[in-house]
């Protein structure tokens, strides 16, 4: 029986009962309980099933190291699988269910795996399920997947929100035990900006449980005083429920603060993810007790000795009535003593050491507890709960000397420092043979940018376990020299025990669990070693040791020791596996933060966006923008809308929101020279007031962006880029200016969002502008490819005579703040002419009818301007421009390149998107040869048939030829190669 004691419990408030359910059972705990403590208080030792063999699993630990006691928690939008009960604070109304069983926790069919365990050793799946071939995917894998997995699958969208925040400090201290508190006091008094965080809801760590005295007062009181003193320091920030997940280069630490896990739905963010940049980190993260490897050490009721003490002292919970204690060190005697003093039975303490000395054993004996030296557990008996232990000599093979009835076992195999934060960014470890653990090597710390130690450890994390040493070590870590004095009993040395009994036979070793959750046993590690998976990383991966959700906090060192023993090499030579962040698992939502839903990627909106929305625009994403694709009218399909918009623009007048077009100001005495390098043609000689179309290439020579450049004044140019390319091109400019031509006097500014730009396009465009009134927009005053500043309908405007449609076209820029008003004015002025807005798809069709290329359609990073018959835009005079050298390489200069042509089906249908022109024969790899592909393909409402552009080997020299092109169904269609300008070949319409 595990039960709540009538008295005691330093963390619980008996006046505040909390109701919760487990597998539908209504249970009651107290405020201050962890879920694990509350379950134990209700005699719920069995809490889940293991991963592979579906063995019954009970609670073994009391903190983040717990491998077994994971539950499905909450419901609906607050459902969460794999919640660790030992770190979950109880709250009223909590609901949870146990995991990984069918049909129920008590009767689980999956336990068949347990009976077949002998046939399912480590790595068995690599050796079987090989034949027949299809069986893996269709038969075996589905079965394995179904029985693996742990928690249930969440169904709903997360009901909570998460927050992210930054912090900076001189010193970040992780761990709020006496080491962390002492380090914080030391550094705080020295005036450093200190951050102190503790993953649980309480300060003080182990010391108050272990009955330590500091400076003559009980640890409990010392902790209280320390916390008060720290709270009074303005330079110290303290956070409870805040877990340092990982340390990264240059003092970057990620910490997860569980703000409202214990108060769900109270409106606060559930977690807060801190990104902290620290000058130095002190890891005061304590140590974790190791289990002992004896047969049946996974049966519910077997628990870590210190955890049992925690349940007793913190929550007044007795995990058992009769507890056998088994140990290789003195610390576990504290548990025996605490149990006895609480009035519980301790039939025997089995101490694997041949001789037992020290104050604590003496006290245990004095309390009348039987202490057996040199003894071990041969086997724990029981199924869903311990019923007895069989005792043997540690030195032997496991011959049973005696059987003792009990319902719990408290085990202690020694302690391992928590070195994760030390190791994440490269701190090295030493093997401490006396304490049988890996501890940080102060001589080989992770380094800061200046070569100093980025992380130091304090207290048990350094490998010192006695309170007095812990405080001295922590004081020194924080740069102080006067440490408080702690007193406690004198403890005798521990003795490493990796297998119990020492000579255990194979049938016993097959029942000794190393990794409880993943079901890895001593025999599995030995098998891995036997089969040559002898590197510790191979062993880990072959057996899955340490890969469960506890990341091997209990199992790694024990597994390593067994491996070393199997290989007959010393433990330090075998080494550890890599410690990877996070220390304990972090919720995805916290890592994603606020950036969800509508603000996942902030939507960029033009000043006219609301109008588009109000006029039923169908939007498409273009970079971070969303642009109207078309404006369907009631009853119209998107296609019909596009056709209407195109026809109206061609024959009448259309209106386009072109504000997303990139606009970059390039200014300075060397701006012309700079642009001549950036563009393939010459920009320095562009006259003020004139516009010129230009191309930009990557260093490799491939076309990367295009647009119209306007000369504003003597040393200022305005470069238009594609909508999607603005940020990239601006960065590209800065890259060259900052890294290569840093001595050129050029300044750039991306003013894309400073202007709204509206295209008025079509034969009646001028009439609309004249109706609006203001500046002279006649052919004479504002000829094609020029711009002018002026006033229109009362707005300050800059009007460009440029055209991407082949029509008479004005692009008019106004300050962004006036964009919507100007648009509205245009709409009003255009009403009598039947002006309609058109979207991006209309824009595409209009430009394709004219054979204008589109970056991203005709180009894909492999196309050079010459391929697109744009040789005219490449200066022959310039000594250099970006991409020139690239374009001179043999393959790019080859006459065999695919070049731009127009394409038309014989029957007028539209060529499918992505279609490719096969050529006769196959290549050396048996693939069909090809000779071209379509790049843009549309139905032209103007010409009433399909039109397309494409790249074809031989290019325009093949005009008139008919080739085949693919359809998705595998058939082909006949396509004629034509000139790519389908409409108004002479360009008369745009120049009126």
């Amino acid at each position: 029986m595990s039960t709540r004691l009538a008295k005691g419990g330093r963390l619980i408030d008996r006046a505040a009962p909390q109701d919760f359910t487990f597998n539908g059972k209504r249970l009651r705990g107290f405020k201050g309980d962890t879920l694990a403590a509350a379950l134990l208080a209700n005699d719920q030792m069995l809490v889940g099933r293991s991963f592979k063999y579906h063995r019954p699993r009970g609670i073994v630990a009391s903190g983040a190291e717990e491998p077994n006691a994971l539950v499905n928690m909450g419901e609906g939008g607050r459902f969460e699988p794999n919640q660790r009960t030992t770190t979950t604070e109880l709250f009223d109304g909590l609901t949870c269910t146990s995991q990984n069983h069918f049909p129920s926790l008590e009767f689980d069919i999956g336990v068949l795996n347990n009976y077949a365990a002998r046939f399912l050793p480590a790595g068995f799946y690599y050796k079987t399920f090989i034949h027949p071939r299809a069986a893996w995917k269709h038969v075996f894998e589905p079965i394995i997947r179904q029985s693996a997995g742990l928690g249930k699958v969440p169904k709903d969208r997360d009901a909570d929100r998460y927050e992210q925040a930054y912090a900076f400090c001189d010193l970040l201290i992780t761990g709020g035990g006496i080491a962390g508190l002492q380090a914080a006091l030391t550094a705080g008094k020295a005036g450093k900006r200190v951050w102190l965080m503790e993953q649980t809801a309480h300060w003080g760590g182990r010391a108050p449980v272990d009955g330590v005295e500091i400076d003559g007062t009980p640890a409990e009181a010392w902790v209280k005083n320390a916390v008060q003193a720290l709270e009074a320091m303005e330079n110290v920030t303290m956070r409870l429920r805040c877990m340092a997940a990982g340390s990264y280069d240059h003092g970057y630490v990620l910490a997860d603060e569980k703000v409202a896990d214990h108060t769900p739905g109270d409106g606060r963010p559930r977690h807060r993810l801190w990104r902290i940049r620290a000058g130095q980190i002190i890891a005061a993260t304590g140590a974790i007790e190791r289990p002992l490897s004896f047969a049946g050490n996974d049966i519910p009721g077997v628990m870590l000795a210190a955890a049992m003490r925690d349940y007793l002292v913190n929550w007044a919970v007795a995990p058992g009535d009769r507890t056998v204690v088994v140990t290789n060190n003195d610390d576990a005697y504290r548990t025996a003593i605490a149990l006895k003093e609480a009035g519980l039975e301790v039939p025997v303490i089995l101490d694997a050491r041949a001789t037992v000395t020290g104050d604590l054993p003496a006290k245990a004996r004095a309390l009348g507890i039987r202490v057996e030296a040199g003894k071990a557990i041969a086997k724990v008996k029981g199924g869903k709960r311990v019923t007895s232990v069989a005792i043997c000599a540690q030195a032997g093979q496991g011959a049973v000397l005696e059987e003792i009835a009990c319902d719990a076992v408290a085990m202690s195999g020694g302690w391992s420092p928590v070195v994760h934060l030390w190791s994440h960014c490269g701190g090295k470890l030493n093997w401490d043979a006396a304490q049988a653990h890996f501890a940080p090597d102060p001589a080989r710390p992770p380094l800061n940018h200046d070569g100093s130690a980025l992380v130091v450890t304090a207290g048990a994390a350094s490998g010192v376990l006695l309170a007095g040493d812990v405080l001295a070590n922590a004081t020194a870590a924080a740069g102080g020299d006067v440490a408080p004095v702690a007193s406690g009993p004198v403890e005798a040395a521990m003795e490493p025990v990796w297998v119990m009994p020492q000579g255990a036979t194979i049938d016993l070793r097959m029942k000794m669990w190393l990794d409880y959750q993943n079901d890895v046993k001593v025999s599995d590690v030995q098998l891995a070693a036997r089969e040559g998976y002898s590197s510790v990383e191979h062993t880990k991966r072959y057996t899955t040791l340490g890969m469960a959700t506890d990341q091997g906090k209990l199992s790694n060192i024990n597994g390593l020791a067994v491996l070393a023993d199997s290989l007959s090499s010393p433990i330090p030579q075998v080494g550890t596996t890599t410690f990877r962040p996070p220390y304990t698992p972090v919720t995805f939502g916290a890592l994603a933060g606020e950036a969800r839903g509508d603000i996942f990627q902030p939507l960029r909106q033009t000043p006219i966006h609301a109008w588009h929305e109000a006029h039923n625009a169908y939007f498409e994403p273009v970079g971070l923008w969303r642009r109207p694709y078309c404006y369907p009218r009631p009853g119209e399909t998107h296609e019909q809308a596009v056709h209407r918009e195109v026809v109206n623009t061609r024959t009448n007048v259309g209106l386009l929101d072109a504000s997303t077009l990139g606009k970059i100001i390039v200014k300075g005495p060397d701006a012309g020279k700079f642009l001549d390098m950036l563009y393939t043609n010459v920009m320095s000689n562009l006259g003020i007031g004139k516009c010129r179309y230009g191309l930009m290439c990557s260093e490799q020579g491939f076309l990367s962006d295009d647009g119209v450049v306007a000369r504003i004044d003597e040393d200022t140019w305005l470069c238009h880029t594609t909508s999607g390319g603005a940020d990239r091109i601006h960065a590209w400019m800065e890259d060259w200016l900052q890294c290569e031509w840093w001595d050129w006097q050029v300044y750039t500014a991306n003013v894309t969002e400073q202007f709204a730009q509206i295209a008025v396009v079509g034969p009646n465009a001028r009439k609309v502008l004249e109706k609006l009134g203001g500046m002279d927009v006649s052919k004479e005053a504002l000829p094609f490819m020029q711009w002018a500043d002026g006033e229109m309908g009362g707005f300050r405007v800059r009007a460009y005579r440029i055209s991407f449609s082949g029509e008479l076209s004005y692009e008019i820029a106004v300050p962004a703040s006036e964009g919507r008003a100007f648009w509205d004015a245009l709409v009003t002025a255009g009403a009598e002419f039947g002006m309609m807005p058109y979207g991006t798809e209309g824009l595409h069709v209009l430009r394709a009818e004219k054979g204008f290329i589109m970056i991203g359609d005709e180009t894909d990073g492999t196309v050079i301007p010459q391929d697109l018959n744009l040789g005219w835009a490449i200066s022959k005079k310039k000594a250099d421009y970006l991409g020139k050298r690239g374009q001179e390489r043999p393959f790019l200069a080859s006459p065999d390149r695919w070049k731009l042509v127009g394409l038309e089906t014989l029957d007028g249908s539209v060529i499918p998107d992505g279609s490719i022109a096969p050529a006769p024969g196959t290549n050396a790899n048996g693939q069909r040869n090809t000779q071209g592909r379509v790049t843009s393909t549309y139905y032209s409402p103007t010409l009433k048939r399909g039109i397309a552009m494409g790249l074809v080997k031989g290019g325009l020299s093949r005009v008139g030829e008919t080739i085949e092109m693919t359809r998705l169904d595998g058939s082909t269609l006949q396509v004629k190669i034509v000139d790519p300008v389908f409409y108004d070949k002479e360009g008369e319409k745009q120049n009126v």
């Binding site: 699988p81 690599y126 995917k137 040559g532 994403p621 043999p890 790899n925």
Partner: protein
């Protein structure tokens, strides 16, 4: 080599598994070999395997500075697909994929190739057109892929949110026989087969120098001494630049950190691989139940095997948008690997300025899927001294000629 089978397991079970032999031997290096392969990652081991299997060359050493399979082969997210756009890529990745189909039987080691299907989501019209182009290309290349609409996507991946709010799913490029395999098993299976052919896999042995005379390699210096060789194959992924430097030539390769992570395991909820390039993230579910997740590379060169954390955050944002139900799952482990990136994001399988020295690298963020095909092609190159058709286009001199095999055209996320 004793064969693995369910009967072997049963037999061994009766004697408590005491009779299993070593999967591979750990010999001391001999003084010289016909071929030395540097790097016991998947590509190095597969090269050795096909040298033996296809060309009967077995006097081979595979030299590994750490533990075999411990480089990117043991760190990747195991996506296997061959829906590449460019002909040379489609050829070698499809060769690899088809070899994966039978690899477990061929190696007598279950590499758990799971052709569960792979989706590349299209979330912009531009992406739709790009993937349609890929399907047309794949049809002509003999790679089976198809374009599917949003309803089919939802049917294949019920946990996906296909309508927005930011980037609604417009369809997907679907390769029904793409999928995953167990990365360690691929390395181990090849290693076991190489060892069984009498090849020496020498772990914990770093190549520190390459000796050559008259334009040919004579041997390598290692932390276990000098080893002579008639031919040298360099297959060291992220460390290619360094080893090439030892051999005295330069490579057009940069080394960048790429990261991945897994969630805690949950019951099966997704049995295809989903890649979302617009938002930049991809996810599959391992047989253990973990959601396996990857994202983008760092923007700067380094060798630390750690990456910048903001990539993890960005990837998770993208995936929570795509799969809202994962928000309350927890990140269990996170790691990085150093990937070797070329200028066109395609690999190098090439002769070098040294007559008997060959290099295989540049697989970057996506070479796990290529392991069998790459080993096959590299073995041919090493054995014959000249590339076969699979390797030919991947020679490193293509950069000088401008003959790129640019795959970034087709995919933003290249895994």
């Amino acid at each position: 080599m004793k064969r693995y089978s369910v009967f072997a397991i049963a037999r061994e079970a009766l004697r408590y598994h005491q009779g299993w032999e070593k999967a591979w031997a750990s010999p001391a290096p001999k003084s010289s070999y016909d071929v030395v392969i540097v790097g016991a990652g998947g590509h190095g081991l597969a090269t050795a395997y096909y040298l033996g299997k296809n060309f009967g060359i077995t006097n081979v050493a595979i030299i590994e500075k750490g533990w075999l399979g411990g480089g990117n082969t043991g760190r990747n997210t195991t996506i296997i697909r061959s829906n590449y756009l460019q002909d040379p890529s489609a050829a070698i990745y499809e060769k690899a994929r088809s070899l994966y189909e039978d690899l477990s039987q061929d190696l007598n080691y279950n590499v758990m190739f799971s052709p569960r299907g792979l989706l590349m989501l299209a979330q912009t019209h531009h992406e739709v057109r790009g993937y349609l182009r890929t399907v047309h290309a794949n049809n002509l290349q003999g790679v089976t892929t198809e374009w599917i609409g949003p309803e089919k996507v939802k049917e294949l991946v019920p946990i996906m949110n296909i309508d927005g709010p930011r980037y609604p799913v417009l369809g997907a490029l679907y390769q029904a026989r793409g999928g995953t395999a167990r990365h360690d098993a691929v390395a181990w299976g090849y290693a076991r087969a190489c060892s069984a052919m009498g090849m020496d896999i020498i772990q914990q042995c770093e190549v520190t120098g390459v000796r050559s005379a008259n334009g040919v390699v004579t041997g390598v210096d290692t932390t276990k001494g000098y080893i002579g060789t008639k031919k040298l194959g360099i297959v060291v992924a992220g460390h290619s630049g360094q080893v090439a430097d030892m051999a005295g030539f330069r490579l057009p390769v940069e080394s960048l950190a790429l990261q991945a992570l897994v969630s805690e395991p949950i019951k099966p909820c997704m049995d295809v691989v989903v890649m979302a390039n617009t938002v930049h993230g991809y996810m599959s579910q391992s047989d253990k139940g973990e959601m396996v997740i990857g994202g983008g590379t760092d923007g700067f060169n380094n060798f630390t095997q750690r990456g910048s954390f903001q990539h993890i955050e960005e990837t998770l944002r993208a995936l929570i948008e795509t799969f809202p139900m994962i928000s309350r799952l927890k990140m269990l482990r996170q790691w990085g690997g150093i990937v070797d990136m070329t200028g066109d994001r395609s690999p190098i399988i090439s002769k070098t300025p040294l007559g008997n020295c060959f290099i295989n690298c540049g697989w970057g963020t996506g070479g796990f899927k290529a392991i069998p095909g790459s080993g096959w092609a590299m073995a041919e190159l090493v054995a014959k001294g000249e590339p076969g058709p699979l390797a030919e286009e991947f020679n490193m001199y293509r950069f000088r000629e401008g003959r790129f095999i640019d795959e970034s055209v087709a995919a933003g996320v290249a895994h």
